[in-house]
């Protein structure tokens, strides 16, 4: 994906600059309609953190004047401290950067009172910065987790700037949507390399920010709602929250009726229902037929969990004299037959082979146990078509501590 195309996508909305004087985050009041399960959006930390600030409707908002991706003062300071990311180094020099490379860092301790307008980037600059960062994801030669780490921090700073200026218009919504997508894809890619302890903490931090950005985004959808129309992408992004929490016994989240009846929510509820009932047939069929790539990324851990459950289930309830054909089972669970075999073996079960060379899972084996050693990265047959979204080249991820 090239830079100009992404930029064109993002400039499509009408208003820019001042937004509504509304809060950018937090749980919205129940609108008419029903509720569906998901964790409560109240995030105690968000009380204090700035990126989802509870700026009251009466306090004035800053309007930033910084024209660069990074305020000049910070740039100079970080050059002196040699606190430059590999992406910010001019010709690889650890102590030199440039305005086109330096990007403002996220600052945890910043409070709205002491911030100077010249340190805050206005909306057009933020838009361009985000563009730049997302393009890095596609174009960089660095290992994935290194790029992720940089984009993770710098997008968090973008959200911080948006929040401080209380910008909650359509354009901000679009930017948040892009950032949520980044977190979702990272959620998938970081899961695949969980053997590394560093990456594991990165995974959980990413999960936390994914939740926070979704929460803020929902607040913006609510703030921007005109009569009963819903934002173009709102249904899809609402579905993300539910799918992220597919496996947990969480409390309800209230959604407006038109959203509940949307294609994305109907899909989500169908998936949720089959998962909760254990109807793996319906679960895998529905996902294969209707899931988007992003939705798949969110459901991945539950997909694997259910696959393990099915192996256990078939082993438990199958007839001893009727071993289950592996070809059939792998088709049911949308796995490659070789992956199916690996999964069964990882669960402590044996595979038998008949004279024709067909493989079977004998049932009533007593050695079943959940696989050890974390997440197994199996593909989902039928969804490879969706993976053109981003480069699937995971060979760049390192499995060693860096």
């Amino acid at each position: 994906m090239n830079k100009s195309r992404r930029k064109a996508r993002m400039s499509s909305s009408s208003t820019e600059g001042k937004g509504l004087q509304s809060n950018a985050s937090g749980e919205a009041e129940a609108s008419k309609g029903g509720s569906i399960r998901g964790r409560s959006l109240e995030d105690e930390e968000s009380h204090r953190s700035i990126e989802s600030s509870h700026v009251s409707s009466t306090s004035p908002s800053t309007i930033g004047t910084c024209t660069l991706m990074c305020p000049a003062g910070e740039r100079v300071q970080r050059e002196h401290l040699r606190d430059l990311s590999v992406f910010e180094r001019l010709n690889g020099h650890p102590g030199k950067t440039s305005p086109s490379l330096a990007v403002k860092k996220f600052c945890r301790t910043m409070s709205t009172k002491h911030v100077q307008e010249s340190d805050v980037r206005p909306l057009p600059v933020l838009r361009d910065t985000l563009c730049y960062l997302l393009n890095l994801l596609d174009s960089s030669e660095q290992p994935f987790e290194v790029v992720h780490d940089f984009v993770f921090d710098r997008t968090r700073s973008i959200r911080q700037d948006l929040s401080m200026q209380n910008i909650v218009n359509d354009e901000a919504i679009h930017m948040y949507e892009e950032m949520v997508k980044f977190h979702i894809v990272s959620h998938h890619k970081l899961l695949c390399c969980n053997c590394n302890v560093n990456i594991s903490s990165m995974y959980y931090l990413n999960l936390e920010q994914l939740r926070k950005s979704l929460s803020s985004l929902y607040g913006m959808y609510d703030a921007n709602r005109k009569s009963s129309t819903i934002s173009k992408n709102e249904s899809e992004f609402r579905s993300f929250y539910v799918l992220l929490h597919l496996g947990s016994n969480s409390q309800s989240v209230r959604l407006a009726s038109p959203i509940l009846k949307s294609k994305e929510l109907c899909f989500t509820r169908k998936v949720l229902r089959s998962f909760r009932l254990g109807n793996y047939y319906c679960f895998f069929n529905t996902i294969a037929a209707e899931s988007s790539y992003l939705q798949y990324c969110l459901m991945e851990p539950c997909i694997n969990e259910l696959r393990i459950l099915v192996v256990s289930c078939i082993n438990y309830g199958g007839y001893t004299l009727s071993p289950y054909p592996l070809a059939q089972l792998s088709k049911l669970l949308r796995m490659k037959e070789s992956d199916m075999k690996s999964l069964c073996i990882a669960c402590g079960l044996e595979i038998s082979t008949n004279e024709a060379g067909n493989k079977f899972l004998p049932t009533k084996q007593t050695t079943f146990h959940p696989p050890k050693g974390g997440f197994q990265n199996y593909s989902f047959l039928g969804l490879e078509r969706l993976q053109r979204h981003t480069r699937v080249d995971d060979s760049r991820t390192t499995n060693q501590a860096s």
Binding site: L20, Q21, S22, N23, E27, E29, A30, G33, G34, S35, I36, R37, R39, S40, L41, E42, E44, H54, S56, S57, A223, N249, S250, Q251, S252, V253, R254, S257, L260, L272, R273, R276, L277, G278, N279, Y280, Y281, C282, L309, V310, S312, C313, I314, Y316, G317, G318, Y319, L321, S322, Y324, P325, Q328, L332, T363
Partner: protein, 445 residues
């Protein structure tokens, strides 16, 4: 409004000030509480508000006499609240009330005995109600509704004032329940956890010491939380407690408890009698119960669709959806029974195709692979005892008790397979009167 003279306005205000001061100095909680219920629209307070709006300088009156000025911090903002409330400025009314409430709390801490508990309850109630109204006003102006959250913070402070060894601690449960109402309204139910922990683990509190009314409300809300988290045994225990201790004449409260208790009971295999649903107007559960009794999957899905909004609003939709497994169990049991009647020797073998046909008759389209899947799950969760043969597409049922009853226990979600047909001890505690509400099992045969 009839003409109100300055003299008359003056008289009304002075009268209120006297009553306020007298009730505080004589520690008369029941008199004081009547002077605080802003949202009650009592004629007394309405006429006072009119007087304040005419007189415009009540602060001078408060400061004039020394005896009033001690309570001035409470009364002055309270007056502003009444004035604003009267003219429909609800955000300003809330803001003023919050100031007054905080001042009241400061004084309350100084009063040694618990004489002002009733007035404090009124303040806890009013701050919530006024906050809700203020938030509605804010939302209508496109602003962020944040007042209810603020009311929650205030109530936390109140809780802190009551969480001590003295006689005031008896009010802690009441305030906790008010907090629950706020958290449930805001959807931030995870915040209930810390309040619950304070009540249940702190040594200063003895649950039995609290008034019954508060215990019922507390069990109702904590029971609802257990329903959200699908801890059905705990939910059953708490909601049943609330039901048993609730005043039988408070039919609306009983209805609210049953609204959540019924899905819980259904999930553990206990069906309510139809007179119960009729008496408390819970007709939305009629078809659900019928579907369970008859193994009618179509009826269950239809019932969920028809009352979708109501079930979603009370957050029991997902719980009811999960009853599908029990409906499947019942359906297959009926097939088994009819086969048994035709020829007892072959009854325990059911062709999966027969189940496909039965579902088709109910206008549900499922192919044999999906039916095998359902069967595998039912066996795994111990709703059916037996096994399935993939090649011959047959389910073979155990000759002994092929359809184990839930008997007050939830369906095994983790698939552990110990013998579960032990009757629940809790069932023996329920007194006869309430036991008659429910019948066990999925109907006859």
């Amino acid at each position: 409004m009839a003409y109100l003279s300055m003299g008359e306005a003056h008289r009304r205000i002075s009268d209120y000030l006297n009553r306020f001061y007298d009730s505080v100095s004589s520690q008369d909680g029941s008199s004081l509480r009547q002077l605080l219920s802003v949202s009650s629209d009592s004629p007394h307070l309405l006429s006072l508000a009119d007087a304040l709006n005419v007189f415009q300088d009540a602060n001078r009156l408060i400061k004039q006499a020394d005896r009033y000025s001690q309570l001035g911090e409470i009364i002055a903002p309270l007056f502003r609240c009444l004035q604003n409330y009267r003219i429909g400025h609800l955000v300003d009314a809330y803001n003023a009330f919050e100031k007054s409430a905080n001042a009241f709390l400061l004084e309350f801490r100084n009063w040694e005995s618990a004489w002002a508990m009733e007035p404090l309850y009124v303040i806890a109630y009013e701050i919530r109600v006024l906050a809700e109204k203020a938030d509605r006003e804010l939302a209508s102006y496109g602003k962020n509704p944040e007042k209810l959250k603020g009311a929650g913070s205030f109530l936390m402070k109140v809780f802190g004032a009551l969480a001590g060894k003295g006689p005031k601690r008896v009010g802690a449960l009441h305030v906790t329940c008010q907090l629950f109402k706020i958290y449930f309204k805001l959807g931030t139910v995870n915040l209930c956890r810390s309040a619950i922990r304070s009540i249940e683990t702190a040594r200063i509190f003895d649950f039995e010491e609290f008034p019954v009314r508060d215990k019922v409300t507390y069990m109702y809300y904590t029971g609802r939380l257990e329903v959200f988290n699908e801890n059905f045994i705990a939910a059953d225990k708490k909601l049943t407690y609330a039901l048993m201790h609730c005043n039988p004449r408070r039919e609306e409260n009983i209805r609210m408890i049953l609204k959540y208790l019924i899905p819980v009971k259904l999930s553990i295999g206990i069906l309510p009698k139809s007179w119960l649903l009729d008496k408390y107007n819970l007709i939305e559960y009629n078809d659900v119960v019928q579907a369970l009794k008859r193994g009618d999957l179509r009826l269950l899905r239809h019932a969920l669709q028809e009352h979708e909004d109501r079930f979603l609003r009370s957050s029991v939709y997902l719980v009811l959806e999960k009853l599908e497994l029990q409906v499947y169990q019942r359906l297959i049991k009926k097939i088994y029974i009819s086969q048994k009647q035709r020829g007892p020797s072959k009854a325990h073998q059911i062709k999966l195709d027969v189940i496909v046909k039965a579902l088709k008759w109910l206008e549900i389209d499922m192919d044999v692979d999906e039916v095998e899947c359902i069967m595998a799950i039912l066996i795994y969760k111990n709703l059916v005892k037996g096994y399935f043969a993939h090649k011959s597409k047959v389910a073979a049922l155990s000759k002994q008790d092929p359809f184990p009853k839930l008997n007050g226990k939830p369906i095994n979600s983790k698939g552990t397979h110990k013998n579960k047909n032990v009757p629940s001890v809790l069932g023996l505690i329920i007194p006869f009167f309430f036991f008659n509400f429910f019948v066990c099992g999925g109907g006859g045969g």
